[in-house]
Structures are given as structure tokens and as C-alpha cells.
Symmetry: C2
Subunit: 391 residues, 2 copies
Amino acid sequence: MTATETAAETAAAGTGRTRTPRPTALSAVWLRDNCGCAECRDPGTGQKLFQITDLPDSLAIASAEQRTEAGRDGSGSGDGSDSSEGWDVVWSPDGHRSHYDAAWLAAAAQPDPRAEDGKELWPFAEDLDGRLPETSWDAYRSDDRERLRMLDAVRSLGFCLLRGVPLEDGQVQQVALSFGFVRETNYGLQFEVRVEEQPNNLAFTNVAITPHTDNPYRDPVPTLQLLHCLVNDALGGDSGLVDGFAVAARLREQDPEAFAVLTTTPVEFAFRDAVTELSAHRPLIDVDAEGRIREVRFNNRSLGTLRLPAARTDAFYRAYRAFAELLLAPEAQLEFRLGPGDCLIFDNTRLLHARTAFERGGARHLQGCYADLDALLSTVAVLRRTHEEQN
Amino acid sequence: MTATETAAETAAAGTGRTRTPRPTALSAVWLRDNCGCAECRDPGTGQKLFQITDLPDSLAIASAEQRTEAGRDGSGSGDGSDSSEGWDVVWSPDGHRSHYDAAWLAAAAQPDPRAEDGKELWPFAEDLDGRLPETSWDAYRSDDRERLRMLDAVRSLGFCLLRGVPLEDGQVQQVALSFGFVRETNYGLQFEVRVEEQPNNLAFTNVAITPHTDNPYRDPVPTLQLLHCLVNDALGGDSGLVDGFAVAARLREQDPEAFAVLTTTPVEFAFRDAVTELSAHRPLIDVDAEGRIREVRFNNRSLGTLRLPAARTDAFYRAYRAFAELLLAPEAQLEFRLGPGDCLIFDNTRLLHARTAFERGGARHLQGCYADLDALLSTVAVLRRTHEEQN
């Protein structure tokens, strides 16, 4: 039985007659918990009005009657659909009445858009085959479908690239506000990626930065990063992206033992300066309860000191090195150059980013900010309400 | 061998002579990865300068010499300490030289401050024994030690209460900025908890709200919530807090099967209005790789529709009900009343909060905002640098 097999499908397979299961074949408490009547669910907010402990212990279906004709008020349906085909249920012992739409009963589980099943992985740069998800700032702003295409690319591929974003101070925050909210950190609402006199982070120097995720010492980690290029006249300073989910999936295939170690060893990441002292204890590869990859952290600069028994320490380092070799392989890295007006939006829980060194004194200035995926995915869902059929 | 037993302790136990282990008894790659010399770690930022893949495959200690006298430059120590007692190591095959301070070598693992081991749990309200962590806004602002005491209470007990916070619009955000950053959401930088004409959430009505965590449909969930009371003249409208970690630990003890189900079943939480459509797939009890409780989500209003095979569905509902019965038991709930000027800061990954119903038309107005624990814990760590001994 797979994780995506639903109660409805199980029941349907059992009866072999219909894709809409009989209520009596389903979990009674589940069915009752999903009653959509106005007593159970606030019609204004859609929020549930009772606690699970309010339901009778001895809950059972007293009667279930199938309706096939249309025309009945559909307000009792589990998902708010207007269809009234489905089942009318009377409950014992309290006599409560529920209506369940056929479409709602037959619905399948949706993949979690944050875990690997909800993504299009690209283990190697060549898998993208030149299909960079990109558009102009003007098109993004004026055309909802283009905005949907870009933001959905962040969900599926992990990034998108907006061109021609105005070369104005603070514009990167306007890009974040176009789909969500800026996450302020000790680096500010916005940070300047350029050579600083007294950097508190190597990002603010001219040295090469190998592929990494940002701020693994923060929990919650910023789930999105935006980088807006204002100037890039320096020799060097090219950009790179690596699909950490795809590489973690390759590690699971090639070296399951290493994958298991990295999903089960909490690692401390740390950052410290005069006014800040952040740390987080998280695994390099975080999987959900079903074993699906849902977050990757990788940052050699801020990996803290492991304090584990020697055998676990050795096992971790062997696995860490195996993962690093795959992540840092040139063929895993998509390379491109950000020019003035380019704004990159990427999933910091999945993609690693990198930059080559650039000449000391070379002119290179990006502005960056952090934001979060939940709001971006909300914007995608709302845009889909009106534009899904047109894509 | 327990999770907190360190490589150093293991080695120390092995030799039986000293608490400072011989480098040759430790994981060589771990030791080298923690070299603190200026070649390996940027002296300005403290960030590591090499990748794990840069280290030789055949890494080994060529020689290790113990130093017991003081007076040597301690810049090579793993933790930046000034002590120079410890070991000088020369590495094979590359001849690299490292110095490791004795204190750093002997250091033990620190508990993750976000997981249950780093907390003081209070399974029942009476366990707090009237020790409400509270102070005045004036003392919090003027005395670093008082600020440290309050913020550290949020880490250990999950909350603190500031009294006499000025009754000004937006003041709740100023409280958040005193230790970190506001997390903006679809509810704004700040939200008004009072009766709204067209509420998109039952919080903005006068009905009773049973214990819950906020925004479980958001990922990352806001890890802190602040509530600042401006007016509370209504009959009713009292507040409650429940320690979700302590109750989850009780569930693990009383009903390990239910605990296991709740830690391994991803549940969809959902919120939808005209401009927002959020969802997150997370377990009700999230444990780290060592099985320690690190996050609790509980919200009957926004629990979505489970789509699992019938047997797993039934198991989930049995466990959910068992957890709910413990969480909603009156003895688990700390009850108090917020008065004008009171500002509550609490850990939204751990504590559930509640309020009783209040009279329709009764005057009750709180302002709230979200923030994050990582910045709060950073502020605690920085305050400790100067004030730890004085507490």
C-alpha cells in the first residue's frame, strides 16, 4: 500500500464498482471530522468549530443514502464544491446529519509541494537543456499568467530569473513583495553583496564561494533568497546553482548508507559576530515522515563542531564527503552570469548557490533579501484559481 | 552509548587517565575539519575556508605533541579560546600543522536549545507554582540582566510576560524589535485581535478559542508570537497557555503507540480566504533525528483533510484524540488574565494558547505580531557574554 493511496481509493478497490466509495467503507471519525455543515464549520472562515474530543466516543454511521441527482444545496460538502451528488449520512448516537459530495469523497491525496514528489528535479545542469525559467520584469508585472509561470518554476525547478528589473536601491524588496514578504535578519531587510572593508561574512569579499545554502545556522532557515544584480563589471563573479534535492536523491541511490547517516545526524551550524550568535542543530538532508527529501543544508563555512561518539563521527564525515563530492561536481552546477537588472529568486531549502572569485577592486554589486516559500506558494494557488486552465 | 556522550569523553573513558583526550584517539577527519589556524578559518569572520573535499583522502596524524605550559599564541585553537594548553598536531600527507586547546578538546556536546532537552517542561499548570516569568517594561529596557532573564524564560519555560508596556498602537512590534525581527504574514506586520465585522479567522470574533498553536498552515511556522493587551473590559476573554512539549512527553510515556503515530503522520493544515491559500504538511509532533520533541502543531480549526489508507486514518484519529484529551485537560492549562499594558511573548512551536469567550460587544483589544526564536536565542547568547556570571 503506497503513501499516495487514499482511503477512497482503497475502498473503491474493495468494492470494485465505483470510484466513489460508500461512506460505510471509510473511517467513521475521519468522515465526521470532515463534515462541512454550518454547525461543524464556520461558513464565513471555513474553520472547524468543534474539537476532536467533542465527538462521541461511540461514533457510527446510522444510515447512509446515496444521491445521484443534482439540485440539492451543496453547502454540506467537504470541500465546498457545488456538486450535490454524493451521500447523505445520519450519525449515531447524536443524530447529526452530514452530506458528502461524490467528488470530494473520490479525491486523491495531493503531493506536498515542499517535498521532492512535488518537484521537477535536475540532477545535472544539462537536464535543464537550456530551459531557464525567465521573463521580463514588465511581463511579470503586467501578465498574471507570466507571474504564475515564474513563481511555479520556483516550486518545480527551484528558481526563476527576472530580467530588466529596475536598477534602483531596494528594488529587490519590491520583487519579494510582489509574491510575499521580506524576512528580516541580522543582515537587515536587505543586504549588499559587494566587497566590504570589514566583512562579517565571506560573501562580502571577492573570494570564490563554493555551492552552499544560506543561513543554515538560522531556524527557521530563510526558505527563499532573492539576488538582484546592479553592477557586474568585474572579471569573474559568475553564478552557479545546484539542485540539492536531485543530488540528495542521487546519493540515496548510489550510497544509501551515507544518505541514511545524513538524514539522521543533527549537525550544528553556527554564526557569530559582535552582535549576533546564531546556531541551529539540523541534519544536512531533512526528510519527512515518509522519507521524502524536504530540506537540504550545506555550508562548509558555518558547519560547527560535531560532538558525537567517534564511530558516529567517522560515519558522518564519510557520508558528508560523499554528498559533497556529488554536490561540488562541475556537471551538477548550472552556470550563468547575472547582468545588471537580473533578479534571481531561488529556493534556499533546495538549491545551492555559488559564485566564482572576481578581481580585487572589480565592480560587482548585488542586493539581496530573504523571503519565504509559504507565501510564494499561496500566491501561486490564488493565481491558479483564475488562470489554471489558460496555462 | 548515549547521544550526549562525546568523542572526547569516549576517548577519555578509553584511556582512563585524563579528561583531555589524545588526538590520536579521535576521528582524524573531524579533528582536521576543526583546525582553527588562519589558513583553515578566516580570522575576521571565523568562517571555514576549505571544503571537506579539499582534505586528503589518506589524512592521518603524523605526530601529536602535548603542551602543558602557558604562553603560546592560542590563535590555532578550535574554539578561539586563549588557553594554549593542549596538543600540537602535524598532519600526513600534507604537513599541515594544527593546535588544539585542551579545553576545546574536552568540551561536551551542548543540548539543542530548541529541543525538549534544552527546556524546563511544565506538564501541569501547578508545576509552575506561581513562578510566572514577568517583569516591567521599564526594567526590561533598562537592565540587561532583566532582559536576559525574560528572554531566557521564553527558551526554558516557553513564555514571559512584560507589564506596563505603553498603550500605543504598534508597540507590540517595538517589543519584537527589542530582541529580534517581526515576521510579516498575510495578517500584516501586526494584527488586531478584536471583533471584526467580516472576520477571516475565528480569532477575530468573540467565541471561545480552545488551546492551539498559530498558523500551522505556514511553513516555516512563526516560531514566536507576541500579544499586547490594550483593552480588556469584557466579561470573559481570559487567557490560557499549555506546554505542548510536556504534554507530548506525557503522551510518549502513557501511549507510546499514539506518540509514534503522531510523529510519523504528515498532516495537512490549510487556510484559505479571498487572497490567500496556505497549506503545510507536517506532523503534529515533530521530533529530531534522536527522537527529541522539537515542534508541536495543534489546531482543530485548520486541520485539513487526511487522505491516507483507512487503517492509517483510524490510527491517526485514535492518537490525535489521545493527544487532544491531554492537551485540553483543564489541569494542563495555565490560566491568567491579560490587562492593559501586558505583553505576552511565547514560543509558538511549543506552547498552545487559548482564550475564553467574551460578551458580544465587550471591549477587548489586543495587538499581536509574529517573530522568530533564532533571533531571540541569539540575543540571549550575546547578553550572556557579559552577564552570565552575574545571574
